[in-house]
């Protein structure tokens, strides 16, 4: 931007906010095409069964029905999946979870399609489902997938935990379990597909990764990638759930290809809650040792992630738990064993935090237990062990820069002090307590290579377009890209147009997941803009006969500040017969993959950190827990848009508190009992207090302007802080999430007498 005006570090409103407050943004359900048909999916009511026979006669005969498809009608590959192609588009021989797809119907009206769906007769031989992930690991258990129920095993070995535990003066050990939760974005999944006269397919879909949808649609239709175009519609939330499950795109594409008519498939809320990917439920066992002076000596953990019927990204989720399972602490001896296990439940996939919130609940609970045994303050104890610049992580990675976790702890101590006067309730049955949770999150996927790509086209008037494959799913990345380009090119924000989410025009940047967009794609946009600017300055340098580094670009003009000379880009371009300057930016983070035997390596170029403080009130008569006050401190490197960063953190606090207190898929013999928002309980505005957010900026030298990212690091410590606050309030350790009133009440009944001071 011009003069001293900056675009980075400023809370500009998001670029599409006006459209959204006017109700004009087009989400997938808002699309209508001439002659459009509606698709519905026939789903298994059984968690595990053999398909004996599928009778589509009645459904096909209904007036208005234009297609009824089964697995045999899939022209190309019949299986999809981001890591392993194990999930059938339509099941042909067996179903592996309640909701597995068996057939696909389409009709000229949505209601007719629903009738046709219910008219497809499927005969099943019902089999005993595999539901308990621990039992599923036994060789005698029925196999969910042909290769056995243990889908993956990830290890971390650092030092020797036996030595570490021998050096410990105090050891704590406990088991925990966490529940399956849903992403619960307000917009359910959906897609519209259309085939043109040349047979090219266009899909409109709410998605976190349109290029991946394109890959799977092309495979399923048996056509080349270039014949499929996927356009992301305005996406009503993702949180991991709209990545890695390309089924809805495939269904719409199959119907459009089969009938030649535009086809829409939109999941109902019940379908979304029952059948789409979930957060992995975990069974966790931890053992942690420390010396009398409060130094951690060893951490040993074993955890099993229930990945459901299909792998999706289960291997990587559990891998993230393994690499992050020792927390943001220096621990000389670490041993982690993580398993992803198949069961006959809805597949678990990516969800904000990706395996870290689960283990954070366990290790942060035990750190509080250790602090108590050592008679140390929980924050002081953590500060003695926390990672700092120069520290080695449990994977053996030395962190040289941008380790702001100690500062988040110090600020958390201040917040706790401010909350302390509010511990009194005046009612004997209401007890309040304060808990702290600390966590971290590696930025980007834990593998190599990972890459982001962007193009910047600089026009003669100084304005520019940015083309990037990373999609905005509501978190605000399009605004961030425009801020970065505006900053580099010296123009106001409204001079930048951002194009994302169209596979025809934007490069494949990988998914909007893994807290990777600000760091990876933000860097790609910055590099492309810098390169475009560099080319313009070189042209101008020739014109002025000076060095390009003596020039600045601002508001469409190249200026020689020392000589008070300037030339407009329009004139400069005309002089050199240049129409526009196009530049490519590519960014690949510097990391090394983890050794499969030891889990050692540098899986992430940088890490986000956070310390959160929760003040809760427990009603001892009912077991109900209420969040009274909350303070969140996250080290984000640099907040490119502070308001958007705060918004991410505030959203994470609500989601994480729901994870701690109210949310969870409830099963009865493998069937979900609560597939609605009346029974799957998200927290409402009335359930939450105002949240205080503190941004810590320990700049990351390789990040764009020092930025790292915040989406997942803000989620990871929340449940841990809330669970620790419950202990502080009433002296019971909740080991099973969620801490619903029944669970808390039961724990209160068995609690040991409280320390006398509260």
């Amino acid at each position: 931007m011009a003069d001293n005006q900056k675009a980075v570090g400023v809370s500009v409103p998001r670029i599409e906010a006006r459209e959204k407050v006017l109700g004009r943004s087009v989400y997938v359900d808002d699309l209508r095409r001439e002659g459009m048909i509606w698709g519905k999916v026939v789903r298994s009511p059984h968690p595990r069964a053999r398909i004996v026979h599928v009778d589509v006669t009645e459904a096909r005969g209904l007036p208005g029905v234009v297609a009824v498809l089964t697995a045999a009608d899939v022209p190309g590959d019949r299986y999809v999946g981001p890591l392993v192609k194990d999930q059938p588009i339509l099941c042909s021989s067996s179903v592996r979870f309640e909701g597995d797809a068996v057939a696909l119907v389409a009709a000229t009206a949505e209601e007719v399609a629903e009738t046709a769906r219910d008219a497809v007769r499927v005969e099943y031989e019902i089999l005993e489902p595999v539901l308990d992930p621990i039992a599923a690991m036994s060789p005698e258990a029925p196999q969910v997938q042909a290769g056995g129920n243990v889908a993956s095993y990830s290890k971390l070995r650092r030092g020797d935990v036996e030595v570490g535990f021998r050096a410990a003066d105090v050891i704590v050990e406990d088991s925990f379990s966490t529940q399956m939760i849903d992403h619960a974005y307000l917009e359910p999944e959906g897609a519209v597909a259309e085939v043109d006269a040349e047979g090219k397919v266009t899909i409109w879909v709410c998605s976190q990764y349109p290029h991946y949808d394109r890959q799977e649609v092309a495979r399923v239709l048996g056509v080349s990638l270039a014949r499929v175009r996927v356009i992301q519609t305005t996406t009503g939330g993702g949180f991991g759930g709209k990545f890695g499950s390309p089924l809805v795109s495939c269904y719409a594409a199959l119907l459009a290809a089969r009938t030649g008519r535009p086809a829409k498939v939109l999941y109902t809320r019940e379908e979304s809650l029952r059948t789409t990917v979930k957060r992995h439920p975990y069974r966790i066992h931890y053992k942690v040792g420390a010396t009398r002076s409060g130094k951690l000596t060893a951490v040993e953990a074993r955890f099993v992630g229930d990945t459901g019927a299909y792998l999706v990204v289960g291997r990587a989720v559990v891998g993230k738990s393994t690499s992050h399972g020792a927390g943001p602490y220096e621990v000389p001896h670490v041993k982690m064993d993580g398993y992803a296990v198949y069961t006959n439940k809805a597949p678990a996939g990516a969800m904000r935090g990706y395996g870290v919130p689960q283990v954070a609940v366990a290790y942060e609970s035990l750190l509080d237990e250790l602090a108590r045994k050592l008679n140390l303050d929980p924050i002081e104890f953590r500060l003695k062990n926390v990672l700092r610049e120069g520290s080695q992580t449990a994977t053996g990675q030395t962190l040289l820069h941008s380790v702001g976790v100690a500062e988040t702890l110090e600020r958390a101590a201040d917040a706790r002090r401010e909350m302390t006067p509010h511990l009194k309730t005046g009612k004997p049955y209401l007890k309040r307590g304060i808990g702290v949770g600390v966590s971290w999150h590696g930025i980007g996927a834990a593998r190599s290579p990972s890459q982001a790509t962007a193009y910047v086209n600089l026009c003669g008037d100084g304005s520019a377009t940015v083309l990037c494959g990373s999609v905005d799913i509501g978190q605000g990345s399009n605004t961030l890209f425009s801020q970065i380009a505006a900053e580099e090119l010296g123009v106001p924000l409204d001079q930048i147009s951002v194009v994302t989410g169209d596979t025809l025009t934007t490069p494949d940047c990988e998914a909007t997941t893994a807290t990777r967009v600000t760091y990876l794609s933000g860097n790609a946009v910055r590099l492309a803009a810098e390169k475009a600017k560099g080319t313009a300055l070189e042209l101008a340098a020739k014109h002025f006969g000076c060095l390009p580094e003596h020039l600045i670009l601002a508001r469409g003009k190249v200026q020689v500040p020392d000589a008070a000379l300037e030339i407009s880009l329009t004139d400069l371009f005309k002089k050199h017969a240049v129409q526009q300057i196009s530049a490519l930016g590519v960014f690949s983070p510097d990391c090394t993959p983890l050794d499969p035997e030891t889990g050692q390596g540098s899986p992430h170029a940088t890490y986000g950190f956070g310390t959160h403080v929760a003040l809760v009130e427990v009603d001892q008569e009912t077991g109900a827990v209420r969040l009274v006050d909350y303070a969140a401190f996250n080290d984000v490197g640099k907040a490119i848009n502070p308001q958007a960063v705060e918004g991410q953190i505030e959203g994470a606090v609500a989601m994480g508190t729901g994870y701690a207190l109210s949310e969870g898929m409830i099963f009865d013999r493998g069937k979900i009992l609560n597939p609605s928002f009346a029974t799957y309980l998200l927290l409402t505005a009335a359930d939450l207090p105002p949240v205080r957010v503190g941004l810590v900026e320990a700049p990351e030298p390789t990040g764009p302007y020092g930025a790292k990212g915040v989406g997942e690091p803000s989620m990871n410590p929340v449940a841990a802080a809330v669970i620790n606050a419950i202990y502080d309030a009433v002296g019971v350790r909740i080991r099973e999430l969620p801490a619903v009133p029944e669970t808390v009440f039961a724990a209160l009944k068995t609690r040991q007498p409280l320390p006398a001071d509260r």
Binding site: A17, G23, Y185, E187, T268, E650, A686
Partner: protein
Amino acid sequence: MSISLCVIVNGNEHHLDVAPHHTLLDALREELGLTGTKRGCEVGDCGACTVLLNGKAVNSCLVLAAETEGAEVVTIEGVAGREGLHPLQEAFIREGAVQCGFCTPGMILSALALLRENPRPSDAEVRQALSGNLCRCTGYAKIVQAVLDASDASLVPGFGRPEGLRPSR
């Protein structure tokens, strides 16, 4: 079989033929093309389809279209006036209350209903009024702040009478 009815939507009279089981949400989205009203659950749990029906915030998925004969309905498309955005819409933008935007229309209409009844609500009153509208992105913090900000703006003359919004019956 269909039912003929006359309904005033955003100040304009519409004559519609609706199926007896179709909801107001169906009629707004399918018949009138007013897709700013969102379908998030269709069973009254999420609030994304909130509109004003005779001045009251309702889940339009729980109202049969046939019940709305003669009624006045305001959707998100009718909140802004000719002179520009409604102060609530301005506040939502300014405060960063919009993320994915799917809950935004319903939130704004619930907030509008609140401010018409109670022009200077407390934080707790705003939270209560919005408790039927779910949001998964924002944690509600900036939404509540936006409504509080707009309620201060409500002191300026003309507030609460955007285009299409008439005194409730």
